[in-house]
């Protein structure tokens, strides 16, 4: 029966088209007619949305039903179902309409000439595409048997007769029923992969012609479409006249080994790409190519999550031969799935690697038609995971049929995690870089001359104030020896030997002190300066930084003073107070430069100011969140301090009131009250109580000076006089402002430094595994303590605990030598490499040996020490096998209190071509504990060093503690907040549950 209508191109057309379905006679079964109604609605809706919809425009709908199928044709004058780059919501509708037609119809198509014509057909008697194929199942069974039997088969080729005989096992390897091999050379060739065929035939012919043995590796395609790798060898047999008569050979199925080797190559390639890349955009195309090429997948795609519209968007594709898959590449680029839709949507939703045997037969694969057209079948996809969050999805497709492989899936999950961690690392690195940029901005803007020098005595930093002071330009001095440029010839040797002595003994007569000396300008003039030198290290580099003040003025003032002393008393008093101020400034500058803990610094400052300069000194700082905090209040009488604090607490200054702290901070201008009268107190206080309290402070005169760094107000210092009766004047204000300038600089530097320490520690922490896995029957604890607070270097310690396969766990702990970002990157590489290698190598010493080689290739200048252990669960207890590469031996504490070390020291890793490593195993019983640690624990420079004997004694005191308790006990033993802890410490404790 055929029904046809011409409907107006308006929304109502959809429901009119649906009514047509009801008119079919005989009516269709209900399921079919529901599908038909839905699809007709989709196709007509599509015509309404994308076609012309003027009042005269018509949509032609034709419904034709036979016994076999129902067909619908819809014609309009616009564009068809295929979207042409329309953005936004239109995409989604096009996406689902298309999807539904694809899913529910038996066939569909679009023609664009002369007008847009969309059609679909639904077969009335639908066969289930997935009904069991008995024959297929049986041959798969045979294949499994063959593999179980060792996967080797034999064959014989009688050359003249051209007859080939196969053993039963070889037939099974090729997926044939025993006895069905046709016995010809052609038949043998026909199973081979088309790309390998010519090469194999050439090798056979060469063997026969040149009387040599034959060896080849090639792929075959089984009857069910699956691909396998074969390794074949054969010998020639000769007759009495030395003519080759027969080739006798053996074939082995080496698919597993081949794939394992490919996986290792892929993983190393990915690890290298991540180490070399700056951004994820740079890395992903290379990763797609690396995985595709090494594992033989012909197409790779990557999607990232679009957070605004909450879909995945394709960010790139890779194809071994793009011409072989044009439709699929196009379909993929347009594909923007929501959660759960299609392969990427499924991976996104389920957060795990997904495998599809044949995408053309999958019921949730919208690109199936395009895949079929380009002959793509097997697919695997995995998420880029950062913790629980999916950042993106990678997919790979093959023209061949493949079988899912646990190892491959595991590898892909690992890579997904590696990429996620790479993203995290880059984020942290960006933060560090930004702070480095800010630091150099500080150097540029500081008003004091700042010159820094490395351990070789070469100039590293030279700020603009130094350029002016010495008359050199920065590019001309950086990298040259400081002594030969800035120090007069007579004093140079003394400078050099003093540096050498410091490097050797750690002793210096200059560090942390203010020293007066003569410096040399570029024009040869000598310049009296006052210098304060501190050691402020950059990552990976020892640096000495000098704050230099031109004191020729001061010298002159001193001379003037001597002059004036001979004159009048008033003049003398003036000179004295000027000198006093200058020397105070000098002391203050030393105090400011001596510590990078800015609170300690400011505290010293106020204690210096009182009572030399004022009776009261308070400092207020603007916190990062914008609030103003009082951080220091000083007076020579502690009781008065308490009163002042109470005053401030009960009557906090009003931000809107003029003349106080807030105004100074807001305007960046000082305010002086030469005399504080009682009237001022009265008008400034709210009630009698406040007035009395204010009076009791006895304030006579005050100055509030802003702290400014880089053009911004950071806070204010208030100087007030009380008991001394001083009155502050212009000279005092000038001096206070000078002091405030220096203090601001110190505070800003110190804050930056603290931030960097924090960043460095964050970087370090990001390299540690966030949580320990759950291991049945085993308690795990891990603790880490970075090197002391004053340092902002990143240590190279790491640890890791992960599952290798069911019932087998890996525990790793290590130390990459050196500090700083490069060492940190290598630490990350070490950890990831261990994870990758552990899955493939059996036995800890094999794992460490492979890892050492990988690290040697990566950065042969840095060595590492690692202790690596394999923990296998047993019925009651566990077996631990340990190998150490230059690392302190782990400690074992038995339940009965006996303690020993386990393992053999072994060679350092990452620098030698040959390493000596040995596995040692022990059986662990319930209640036994094993402690892994890094050498920060036993470092003799700590104030409580623990040697090996000390360690064994110490671990015995942990008897009866659980894993966490033991770890904490160890950490406490070496905790010493005041010592200069030179190295960081990591501890991992493993205990079999009692």
């Amino acid at each position: 029966m055929t029904l046809e209508r011409r409907l107006p191109a308006a929304p109502e057309a959809a429901s009119e088209a649906r009514r047509l379905v009801d008119k079919l006679d005989p009516p269709l079964p209900p399921d079919l007619s529901d599908n038909l109604r839905l699809l007709i609605s989709e196709v007509v809706t599509n015509a309404v949305r994308h076609g012309p919809n003027g009042s005269d425009d018509r949509i032609r709908v034709r419904l034709d039903a036979t016994d076999e199928r129902v067909r619908v044709d819809v014609l309009d004058a616009g564009e068809g179902f295929v979207r042409h780059g329309r953005a936004g919501a239109a995409d989604l509708q096009g996406g689902w309409g298309l999807f539904l037609v694809e899913q529910l119809s038996s066939r569909w198509g679009v023609e664009v000439e002369p007008t847009t014509h969309v059609w679909f057909e639904i077969d009335v008697s639908e066969r289930d595409r997935r009904s069991a194929d008995d024959e297929l199942r049986r041959s798969e069974e045979h294949l499994r048997l063959a593999l179980a039997a060792g996967g080797m088969g034999t064959w014989e080729w009688t050359i003249d007769a051209g007859v080939v005989r196969w053993s039963e096992s070889l037939e099974l390897i090729h997926g044939l029923e025993p006895g069905t091999f046709r016995g010809t050379f052609e038949a043998y060739k026909s199973d081979m992969h088309p790309e390998d065929r010519d090469e194999v035939v050439r090798k056979l012919e060469t063997a026969v012609k040149e009387h040599t043995d034959y060896a080849a590796e090639y792929r075959i395609i089984l009857p069910n479409g699956v691909m396998r790798w074969i390794n074949a060898r054969a010998r020639l047999l000769f007759d009495r006249s030395d003519r080759p008569v027969r080739l006798v050979g053996v074939c082995a199925d080496v698919t597993a080994d081949k794939e394992a080797a490919q996986r290792l190559i892929a993983q190393h390639a990915v690890a290298r790409i991540l180490a070399e890349s700056e951004t994820l955009d740079e890395a992903t195309p290379r990763i797609l190519a690396a995985i595709g090429e090494s594992l033989g997948w012909e197409l790779g795609t990557v999607y990232f999550v679009d957070r605004r519209s909450w879909v995945l968007r394709c960010a790139g594709t890779w194809a071994a031969i793009p011409e072989r898959a044009p439709s699929f590449l196009q379909a993929t680029r347009d594909f923007a799935p929501v959660t759960g839709l299609g392969l990427p949507g499924r991976v996104w939703e389920e957060r795990r690697t997904v495998w599809i045997d044949d995408v053309t037969k999958d019921d949730n694969f919208p690109r199936a038609t395009a895949a079929a057209r380009d002959d793509l079948h097997s697919a695997v996809a995995f998420p880029i995971l950062l913790g629980p969050e999916v950042l993106g999805v990678l997919e790979f497709f093959s023209h061949d049929l493949r079988e899912p492989d646990e190892e491959l899936l595991r590898m892909m999950s690992t890579i997904g995690n590696q990429i996620g961690q790479f993203v995290e690392r880059k984020r942290v690195e960006a933060v560090v870089r930004e702070s480095e940029a800010r630091k150099s901005a500080i150097l540029q803007s500081a008003q004091d001359a700042i010159v820094s020098m490395d351990a070789d005595g070469l100039v590293v930093d030279f700020n603009p104030a130094a350029e002016e002071m010495f008359g050199y330009r920065e590019p001309d001095v950086v990298g040259s020896e400081l002594a030969s440029l800035l120090i007069p010839p007579a004093d140079r040797d003394r400078h050099r030997s003093s540096l050498a002595r410091y490097l050797e003994t750690g002793q210096s007569s200059i560090l942390g002190r203010r020293v007066e000396l003569l410096a040399l300008r570029a024009d040869g003039q000598e310049l009296p300066v006052e210098v304060t030198v501190t050691r402020v290290d950059d990552p990976g580099q020892m640096l000495f930084t000098a704050y230099i003040r031109d004191i020729s003025d001061r010298r002159r003032v001193e001379q003037m003073r001597a002059q004036l002393l001979a004159n009048e008393r008033a003049a003398r008093a003036e000179a004295e107070s000027a000198n006093e101020r200058l020397s105070f400034l000098a002391d203050a500058s030393v105090a400011l430069a001596s510590s990078l803990n800015y609170r300690r610094t400011l505290s010293k400052l106020t204690k210096l100011a009182v009572p030399r300069v004022a009776d009261w000194c308070t400092i207020e700082i603007v916190e990062p969140n914008g609030s103003v905090q009082s951080i220091e209040v000083t007076h020579s009488d502690p009781d008065k301090i308490a009163t002042a604090k109470e005053f401030r607490l009960r009557y906090p200054p009003d931000p809107s009131e003029p003349g106080g702290i807030y105004e100074v901070i807001r305007t960046s201008r000082s305010i002086v009250y030469p005399e504080i009268t009682d009237e001022m107190l009265e008008s400034g206080t709210r009630d009698r109580e406040q007035l009395d309290l204010a009076r009791s402070l006895g304030l006579r005169s005050a100055m509030i000076v802003p702290l400014i760094a880089r053009g911004r107000s950071m806070g204010a210092i208030t100087f007030a006089s009380a008991e001394s009766g001083r009155r502050f004047g212009d000279a005092d204000l000038e001096f206070a402002e000078d002091l405030a300038r220096r203090a601001s600089l110190a505070i800003d530097n110190a804050r930056l430094y603290e931030e960097r320490s924090h960043i460095a520690r964050t970087l370090q922490r990001s390299l540690l595994p966030p949580e320990l896995p759950e291991v049945p029957g085993i308690e795990l604890a891990a603790l880490y303590q970075p090197a002391a607070v004053e340092r902002n270097e990143v240590g190279g310690d790491f640890y890791d605990v992960f599952e290798i396969r069911e019932g087998e766990w890996a525990i790793a702990i290590g130390d990459v030598c050196g500090k700083g970002v490069e060492a940190a990157a290598l630490t990350g590489f070490a950890r990831h490499t261990l994870r990758a290698v552990a899955v493939h190598q059996r036995g800890p010493s094999a794992v460490l040996s492979t890892m050492s080689e990988a690290m040697r290739r990566e950065d042969g200048e840095r060595f590492s020490t690692v202790a690596f252990a394999l923990l296998e669960s047993r019925a009651d207890g566990a077996r631990l096998t340990v190998a150490c590469g230059g690392h302190p031996l782990p400690l074992v504490l038995r339940r009965d209190g006996h303690a020993e070390t386990i393992g053999v020291p072994g060679t350092l890793l990452g620098i030698f071509e040959e390493v000596e490593l040995e596995d040692r195993s022990i059986e662990l019983e319930p209640g036994d504990t094993v402690v892994f640690f890094t050498d920060g624990l036993i470092d003799s420079r700590r104030s409580h060093p623990l040697g090996e004997r000390g360690l064994l004694d110490f671990v015995r005191t942990c008897a009866g503690l659980d894993a966490h308790g033991t770890a904490e006990r160890f950490l406490e033993a070496v905790a010493d907040p005041h010592s200069e802890a030179p190295d960081d410490v990591a501890i991992v404790v493993v205990r079999v549950r009692p």
Binding site: L92, L100, W310, V338, T339, E349
Partner: protein
């Protein structure tokens, strides 16, 4: 709560959208009752998904009351039954059935 009855296709979607837009942001939970819907196609899907995305980004919820089988089937085929929140009855609001992505 918005109840939709009859056929939820392109025409109905346009009407529903006009009615819902003004009140969309005013309630923390928007309930759309599909129990009286007799037909539903991708025009409806598109609208519902957009409402759901808006709700998520603004910290609200969209809850759909499940319609008859021939209607819910369309959500199942397109896997949207996993992404959107469905309940059997409007009073079941306290117990969401959807997993967070």
């Amino acid at each position: 709560m918005v109840s939709i009855s009859g056929e939820f296709d392109i025409s109905a979607a346009m009407d529903v959208e006009q009615q819902i837009r003004p009140i969309e942001d005013q309630v923390p939970v928007l309930v759309v009752d599909l129990r009286a819907v007799s037909f539903l196609d991708s025009s409806a899907l598109r609208l519902v998904v957009e409402l759901d995305a808006n709700a998520r980004t603004r910290g609200r919820r969209l809850v759909l009351v499940r319609g008859p089988e021939e209607v819910h089937r369309v959500f199942r085929i397109t896997r949207l039954d996993h992404q959107l929140e469905f309940v059997d009855h409007p009073t079941d609001l306290a117990r969401p059935t959807r997993r967070d992505p």
